[in-house]
């Protein structure tokens, strides 16, 4: 950061808005409102420096664009703006933590169906990454939990889209673009979320199997026969389990008891029961330093699963979200490119997609896509990037920036 820009930011926002970060060569800028963010973006444009928005900054390890950019943290924008409990909606600033949000809405026996990536996750970070978690099988993906938002685009304009109502078809749904865009199109300042009633009871049945294949066969049957499962995972090589099914059920106390009985009847064996007083989520444990996710239509997994096993080994730590048709497995280092190339071929033949979860740049996301879908879709994405960030100053090293 140049001295001139430093002075400009200090004069605009005050000295306390510039915070030293031991892992970053220049101070982190911490505005307190949307106007402050817009001022920072405008100043960055003037000085020709990129801006990378962060929440707590814990995702920085994976951001290749961060070291050359001005880091903008929303940590001081963490207010709960409005909790409309009767309407099941919540409006918060981008820096509010998911933990604080859960505490506030939990008081009204409600929850937000967005899984935290880690215990300090901010809502802004969670929406930028839009990593669908255990909730998604029952409540829909992260993007479905967002009703409206305000952002600062790359041209420093403050714009809003969506609204505060649970049903809305008013103009283009730009919210869909911003969620999961990793801050490349705009910096989130405020968001309105859909809330859901906390279930009376949340229980999980757990059962171990000798092999992944056996566990997966039972899980497939459960998905087919039990309509109201909240979560359904097959876990391999984690917590001492060779292969384990975790089947989560949430709802009325009486309904949950009946569904648990159905699961036991559908797959006779020894199931262990655990109860949870919290929202019906599960943050899966880490499966490795580098995680690979494969998501495919359900009918493809019977053949795709063994093929992946043959490629990466059948005992690598794995979490298979059976409701969503997503299998995540871990590697201790970056997966060898030859294996990834083979995985891409497998995926293309099974209508599947491959994602590298620990490198959330669009480069890695898009590099793993099916080639036939790339050219036009990427071209449109780049066009949108230019439209909403004309100078390309937001997350400039993403593939979207050409």
């Amino acid at each position: 950061m140049s001295g001139a820009l430093h002075d400009t930011l200090r004069n605009m926002l005050g000295a306390d808005a510039l915070v030293r970060d031991p892992d970053h060569p220049t101070p982190v800028v911490t505005p307190v409102d949307a106007a402050g963010i817009a001022a920072v973006v405008a100043a960055a444009r003037t000085h020709g420096i990129a801006v990378v928005p962060i929440g707590t900054g814990r995702g920085l390890r994976t951001r290749r664009d961060a070291r050359e950019a001005l880091l903008l943290s929303t940590r001081r924008m963490n207010r709960i703006v409005a909790h409309e409990a009767g309407d099941l909606t919540l409006t918060v600033e981008a820096g509010a933590s998911l933990r604080d949000i859960a505490r506030v809405v939990g008081g009204a026996h409600q929850f937000v169906a967005i899984d935290p990536v880690h215990e300090h996750s901010t809502i802004g970070g969670a929406l930028a990454a839009a990593r669908d978690g255990a909730f998604a099988g029952r409540c829909g993906p992260v993007r479905d939990q967002v009703l409206g938002m305000t952002v600062v685009n790359g041209d420093a304009r403050i714009t809003k889209s969506g609204g505060r109502v649970v049903k809305n078809v008013t103009g283009y749904d730009l919210v869909r673009l911003y969620v999961g865009s990793l801050g490349t199109l705009g910096i989130l300042t405020e968001v309105t979320l859909r809330l859901r009633p906390l279930p009376e009871r949340h229980a999980v049945l757990v059962r171990d199997f000798e092999t992944y294949a056996l566990a997966f066969d039972v899980a497939r049957r459960l998905r087919h026969e039990i309509a109201d499962l909240t979560t359904l995972h097959v876990v391999v090589g984690i917590d001492g389990a060779t292969a384990r099914i975790r089947a989560g059920v949430a709802g009325f106390t009486r309904s949950v008891a009946a569904t648990l009985d159905r699961i036991r009847k559908a797959a006779d064996g020894t199931w262990a029961l655990s109860e949870s007083a919290s929202a019906p989520t599960w943050i899966p444990p880490a499966v490795g330093t580098y995680r690979v996710a494969v998501v495919a239509p359900h009918s493809r997994w019977a053949t795709l699963g063994p093929s992946i096993d043959a490629l990466f080994g059948s005992f690598v730590p794995t979490i298979h979200d059976v409701l969503r048709g997503e299998r995540i497995f871990g590697c201790d280092g970056p997966p060898p490119s030859a294996r990834m190339a083979a995985l891409d071929v497998l995926a293309a033949s099974a209508d599947a997609r491959v994602l590298l979860l620990d490198d959330p740049s669009f480069e890695s996301v898009l590099a793993a896509t099916m080639p036939a879908q790339l050219p036009d879709g990427l071209d449109l994405m780049r066009g949108i990037k230019r439209a909403l960030d004309p100078d390309g100053i937001l997350a400039p090293r993403s593939t979207l920036a050409d």
């Binding site: 993007r143 609204g163 049903k167 078809v169 008013t170 103009g171 283009y172 730009l174 009486r254």
Partner: protein
């Protein structure tokens, strides 16, 4: 060669209409308020046909508008002056069903209800159920992000369309989204849903199918007046009752329905009825119904009846889904408004809506998706009376302003189309709208694709006529 000559050379004789009498019916969709005669109506049979038509139009600088079944209520499929209307009703096949994955691949002209018919042997159905589902097309549902009574539990069209093959304004074909529902980079599929045919023309859809529920139970709860019925809805939401549908009909609607072929046995001495449905497992539905009964009684319901009998349920829903048609008895013309408010604001907004219509001397009937705050004030009037038409237009604007004043929005499921463009600046400022324009220009820099929709533009090219009767 002229545009018409090129289109005639491309398509079979019966796939290109241009005679004045032939074009008459295509001047508008179900919002007959706005009418424009197209240059021609074409009926493509394939994605390649659509590409060729679009390229011809682009070469000649002629605007073009996609159309499904023409049941839209916001004028989204009203053709542009001198433009080509691309009618997709002949692309109406179910291409495949993958029962284990609960997916279907379909063409956009397929009628909504026909997909559930096709999925029935697999124990599956297509969840979005607009009231016009026996007539509306899935492509039209995509364009408007259509809802329906069961959107309360299952969500609108956006939740159920996982991927879209679309022809862009330059004739390119792109696949947006993926059958797994994952986004790759930006969620272009999510942007496309509800874009009213301004970003591209859908030619193939990958949709999610939903397992048929084990049990379905429908409750009918009459109230003395509309206000306690709305308050009961707020209570149900607040208490965490997760119904599949919560619909409300007021006394005028009840009277119209009971006097029509859609008669459902709604009590005519009630000021309002709630139609509430639950589906799921035996235990879940049983528990939900028991709790709902208790809450409705406490809220002052005159009586509560419920049924799991498919035929009886069908009759109860026939009244709700036929309500708009039944209102044809009240006056020659009907204007269907569509707006959304936070659910706790329903009682106060409905009173305001009634007061607005009373002040203008208009006949109002309400039938709406109470569970998600989606109002449909329906104003019956005589389109031959210019003074009454003027009052209808003024009341429509005041209703929208009342909804926005409590944090509501312009449309819950009908879209903006031509009808509500002028209201967009009430909700969005210039920068908000400019962001939308810039995104549109990425998809269609020539602005030939369904011009004049969604984003406010001058209406110089569209003839405005009094609102006519509509069905939904």
């Amino acid at each position: 060669m002229s545009v018409l000559d090129r289109l005639r050379a491309l398509l079979p004789k019966n796939a290109c209409l241009s005679g004045p009498a032939q074009l008459l019916v295509y001047e508008c969709d179900a919002l007959t308020h706005f009418r424009t005669r197209p240059l021609a109506v074409v009926f493509p049979a394939s994605t390649e046909d659509v590409q060729s038509i679009v390229r011809i139009c682009r070469d000649e600088g002629v605007p073009f508008t996609p159309r499904g079944a023409g049941t839209g209520l916001s004028g989204g499929a009203t053709p542009a002056e001198g433009g080509v209307l691309i009618e997709l009703s002949r692309m109406n096949r179910v291409l495949s069903i993958d029962a284990e994955s609960r997916l279907a691949v379909v063409q956009p002209g397929l009628i909504n209800a026909h997909l559930s018919d096709a999925a029935r042997p697999y124990g599956l159905h297509y969840a979005p159920d607009p009231s016009s589902q026996t007539a509306c097309s899935l492509g039209g549902n995509v364009a408007e992000n259509a809802g329906g009574p069961h959107g309360l539990k299952y969500g609108s069209t956006e939740r159920h369309v996982l991927a879209v093959k679309a022809v862009l304004s330059d004739g390119r074909v792109v696949m947006l989204g993926h059958p797994t529902g994952t986004s790759h980079g930006l969620d272009l599929r999510g942007l496309f849903l509800g874009s009213e045919g301004t970003l591209g023309i859908a030619t193939e859809l990958v949709v999610r199918l939903t397992p048929n529920p084990e049990v379905t139970e429908t409750l009918l709860a009459p109230f003395r007046t509309l206000r306690p019925a709305c308050e009961a809805v707020s209570t149900l939401i607040r208490e965490g009752i997760s119904a599949a549908a919560i619909e409300a009909l007021d006394d005028r609607t009840i009277a119209a329905v009971e006097a029509s072929v859609f008669r459902a046995g709604y009590p005519t001495d009630a000021g309002a009825v709630l139609l509430i449905e639950f589906d799921g497992t035996e235990e879940d539905v049983g528990e939900s119904v028991a709790r709902t009964r208790a809450l409705l009684e406490a809220a002052g319901a005159m009586s509560i009846s419920s049924t799991r009998d498919p035929e009886q349920r069908k009759v109860l829903w026939r009244g709700r889904k036929g309500a708009f048609g039944a209102m044809g008895r009240l006056a020659p013309d009907l204007y269907v408004q569509d707006a959304v408010v936070p659910r706790t604001k329903l009682p106060e907004v409905l009173e305001k809506v009634c007061a607005i219509c009373d002040a203008h001397g208009l006949r109002l009937a309400n039938v709406f998706h109470a569970g998600d705050g989606n109002l449909h004030p329906n104003i019956s009037y005589d389109g031959r009376d210019p003074d009454e038409v003027e009052r209808v237009v003024r009341a429509g604007r005041e209703i929208i302003e009342a909804c926005l004043a409590v944090g509501g929005s312009l449309s819950g499921e009908h879209g903006i189309g031509l009808e509500k463009q002028e209201f967009m600046p009430l909700l969005f400022n210039d920068d908000d709208l400019d962001a939308m324009k810039r995104v549109r220009d990425v998809f269609d820099p020539t602005r030939l694709m369904n011009p004049g929709k969604v984003i406010p533009t001058p209406r110089a090219c569209t003839e405005t006529r009094p609102p006519k009767a509509v069905g939904t």
